[in-house]
Symmetry: C2
Subunit: 157 residues, 2 copies
Amino acid sequence: MLFSTKAEYGVRLMVELGRQPGSQPASLGSVAEAENLPLSYLEHLVAKLRKAGLVTSTRGAHGGYRLAKPAEEITMDAVVEALEGQIAPMECFHDSPEGKVLCSHESDGDQACSTKLLWMRVQGGVTKALAGTTLAELVEFSDQSAQKRVAAIGSAA
Amino acid sequence: MLFSTKAEYGVRLMVELGRQPGSQPASLGSVAEAENLPLSYLEHLVAKLRKAGLVTSTRGAHGGYRLAKPAEEITMDAVVEALEGQIAPMECFHDSPEGKVLCSHESDGDQACSTKLLWMRVQGGVTKALAGTTLAELVEFSDQSAQKRVAAIGSAA
DNA sequence: CGCATAACCGACCGCTTCAGTAGGATTTGA
DNA sequence: TCAAATCCTACTGAAGCGGTCGGTTATGCG
């Protein structure tokens, strides 16, 4: 598996917040119930999202979480990275200060290790997919399928 | 990390075999030395590659491993999949009998879970990168950088 | 004020995988 | 026969995953 359930649960959590009308905060409890996920585990995940500045929280009664930005401005690379940590295909891959991708096997100069070409392409494919998807898209996507369900029930009745 | 060192080491191993002149078998020991990797660990990896039909082996003295097919016909999705197992972005993702990708959260009908769109795109990006890269490309890539090194040393002397 | 409701925080736990080691059995060329 | 090699199984320490639990703090409401 490329990603663990942390990404899965976390994305579902974000979508649920995105579905919330207005900017009303949703309690973790309600999210956990809606998505059928363990509340105490979600607490860990939402903490990461908060530290990454993707959600804001209000404490106390009737408190909860809401998106820190409009869903259109939240791309999924930020969400997944907040949950899973730096996204790289391989351990020896990290962003250098100049933003370039370097393999730790190329100690100095322009010497390239044999796998670099491959991981560069994989990295590109993944980040393109993640950065090219906004939370708003996922919210709309899930709304559509919900409407389908309602329509099906309606026509059956 | 998307992949473990199993993929890294395994790909390097395959490249090393691809660099071998003729169809001469290379012993694991020589590969381990060339790539500076633990021999006893490579044994596990090469076993997976052999079971996947990517390399063939000849036992006994002067034995070793060679590619089962020309490097041009070996795509990296097969290699990585042999080493890491089925490549899917998420646990709930598996190929259905008809080849379609299904999420186990959509129990029946056309109900889609909110994350499906995202993982579909990620899956597409990764498989496109892996299936679109042949072992021959990586061999050529590593040969080029080796030539660069030789040239650099030559000009320095 | 007091209480319920929530966010917060850290410790712990069983399980699986990772990365590697160890030891031996088997096959084969010289 | 011996050395070199593949092959196979079992084991291990460390780390991450997927939670659980208990407790603390903040806040709205009656």
